[in-house]
Symmetry: C2
Subunit: 105 residues, 2 copies
């Protein structure tokens, strides 16, 4: 398959808001799930870091990823998340997906 | 859905062996793709680190992940990979998958 675009990054919530941030991101995952080029949008927690929520994405291209900001409802969710973020989101780890199992090739 | 087990980690090859390591891991991904509890086994590269190959896995449980070592052919692939690894593999980032899009719920 052609190389897909991956992104693995975290968002950190202010104290006590990790669950709320996770809920917002889970809602976002449903919105983008049908967006062009979206193969994976996983929301997870790392027990080592309270209040942090990890997002692991696979898209056909970086362009498709960038366009996901325009999916209806996504900006509203970003507006909900911003006030409970602990600092600005850091850029995630960009990955060049070579292949594997579990996503459409 | 119940919380699935995620693992995001890298293996680093000795100089010039990154492609070979990636090929071995892609072969492994096909072997484990039908193993019990396997939802995702992605192989990717991070352009910032030559010779490193990233593996991103999602399993129903850590137990299912651990059992994947027993899938036929996997140990043979590990034996192929060991001589071209640059040092011992470090433990990956363990994730508690809350949900999202792109894998079976």
């Amino acid at each position: 398959m052609s190389k897909k675009y991956g992104l693995h990054g975290k968002l950190k919530a202010t104290a006590g808001n990790g669950e709320k941030l996770a809920a917002i991101l889970l809602e976002a995952s449903q919105l983008v799930s049908t967006a062009k080029g979206c193969h994976l949008y996983l929301i997870s927690k790392d027990r080592k870091e309270e209040e942090a929520v990890w997002v692991t994405e696979v898209w056909d291209s970086k362009e498709d990823h960038d366009n996901s900001l325009n999916v209806e409802g996504v900006r509203a969710l970003i507006s909900q998340a911003m006030p409970i973020l602990d600092g600005m989101p850091q850029k995630g780890q960009e990955l060049e997906i070579l292949g594997g199992a579990g996503i459409a090739q």
